[in-house]
Symmetry: C3
Subunit: 159 residues, 3 copies
C-alpha cells in the first residue's frame, strides 16, 4: 500500500489573486490524488465568509473588523492594481472571457474534491469571526493540526 501524497497550504493573504493561486494549486493537487489541506488564518479567513450578513453577537471592535473585511471570496481585492476595487471587476471580466474559474467556484470545487478547509480558531477569535459566519463543512483547528499535516507534506506552501 502506498500512501497518498500530501499538499498543505497556509492561506494568510486576503487578496483575490493569491487566494485564487492557492485554490488552483489545491484543486490541481487534489486532481492528482493528493490529500490537500488549506489552513486559513488572518485575512485568508475572509475567503471562507458567507456572503450574506449573519446576525451574531459581537463587541464593538469585532463589529468594526467584520464591517471592514470583505464578506466572502467574491469581494476580495487584488494584491496589485486594485484601483479602489475596480481591479477585481476587470480581472473577473477578463476571466469570464477566457473561461477561467472565479474564486467562489474554485472553493466549491475544492470542497467537492474533499480538500480539507480549516479555519484557524486563534485568528477567528482575534478578528471576531464566528462559526455561523463561515461556510458549512469546514473544520476548526489550531497550529498543531496544521503541523500534523505539514510535517508529512510533499508540497507545503505559505501564501
Amino acid at each position: 500500500m502506498t500512501e497518498k501524497k500530501k499538499t498543505t497550504i497556509v492561506l494568510l493573504s486576503g487578496d483575490y489573486d493569491k487566494a485564487m493561486a492557492a485554490y488552483i494549486i489545491a484543486n490541481g493537487a487534489a486532481a492528482y490524488d493528493h490529500e490537500v489541506t488549506i489552513f486559513h488564518t488572518f485575512w485568508g479567513l475572509n475567503a471562507l465568509r458567507k456572503d450574506e450578513s449573519i446576525l451574531v453577537k459581537k463587541g464593538f471592535m469585532e463589529k468594526m473588523f467584520a464591517k471592514m473585511m470583505p464578506r466572502g471570496a467574491d469581494k476580495m481585492g487584488l494584491s496589485r492594481m486594485n484601483f479602489a476595487g475596480i481591479g477585481p471587476k476587470l480581472i473577473k471580466n477578463v476571466m469570464k472571457k477566457h473561461n477561467a474559474i472565479p474564486l467562489p467556484q474554485l472553493i466549491e470545487m475544492a470542497q467537492e474534491q474533499d480538500v480539507k478547509l480549516i479555519a484557524c480558531t486563534m485568528t477567528m477569535d482575534l478578528l471576531g469571526l464566528q462559526e455561523e459566519e463561515l461556510l458549512d463543512n469546514i473544520e476548526y483547528a489550531g497550529v498543531a493540526a496544521y503541523l500534523a499535516e505539514a510535517e508529512d507534506g510533499n508540497v507545503n506552501l505559505f501564501i
Copy 2:
C-alpha cells in the same frame, strides 16, 4: 545513482525585493546542484518581460494591463519603502556599492545555470501577455507542470 535534489519556487509577487529573494535562492540551489524550477504566475510574470516594447495585437483591456505593469525585472517596485518609485533606485545604488547582483543579472545567471523558468499560461492569458513579449528560452506551462516538479521537491516555496 542518486537523484538530484529539487527546488521549486512559485513567483506570484511582482516586487523587486521578493523576486530578488526568489532568484538568489534559485541560483544558490542551482550552485548546490539542485534541479531548480521557477514558476512565474500573475505579477511574477513581469520579471520575464523584455524591456523593449513589442508590437503584438491586443484588445483594449490587454493594452491597459500591459501599459500599467512594469516592463521587465529592472522596472519592478519594492514591497516596502517604494516611495513612488524612488525606493528601487536607492536600493540599486546601495546594491552597486555593496557589489550585490541586480535582478536582471540574477535572471541571466539563473538561465546560465539551467534553472527552468516557466511562465504560467493561464495568467498570461488573463493579463494579456504574449510569448513574444517574454524572454527567450523559457517554458510555457500550467499548474500540472508545476505540481509534477513540486511533489518531488525538497524545497518548495511560494513567493
Copy 3:
C-alpha cells in the same frame, strides 16, 4: 536513531501579522520537537532589531533606512487594515483580551526553545543594519546556510 524533523522559514515580510504567523508556526514546530530555523531577510530583519537606538557609524543612506524602518517587532505594521499605524494597536488590544501572545514574547519563546534565528548578512548590508542593532544570541549567515537546512526540511515556508 531517528533524526529530528526540520522546519525552516524564510521571513522576508516586515508585517506584524505575517511575522506573528511565522513565529507561531516556529514555536509550534519546536514544541513538536522539530529543529527549527528562521532566516530573516530584507524587512523581516526588523523583527530582530533592538527597540532602543544604538549608536553605530552609518552613511547617509543607511541612516535614512534605519530611521524609516520599524525598530523591533513591537513597532511593525499590519499587512492589511494598518490604518496609519492604528491597526496594530487595535490588534494588540484584542490579543490582550484573548490572551494571545504578542510578537516580542513569541520571539523570546522561540529563543528559549532553541529556534535558530538567522539574520541574512547580505540584506543587512543593503539596509545598513549592524550586529549591534540586532538581538543577542542570533546567527549571521547567507543563503548557503539557509539551503543547507532547507534541503532536509520537512516543512519549508517563505513568509
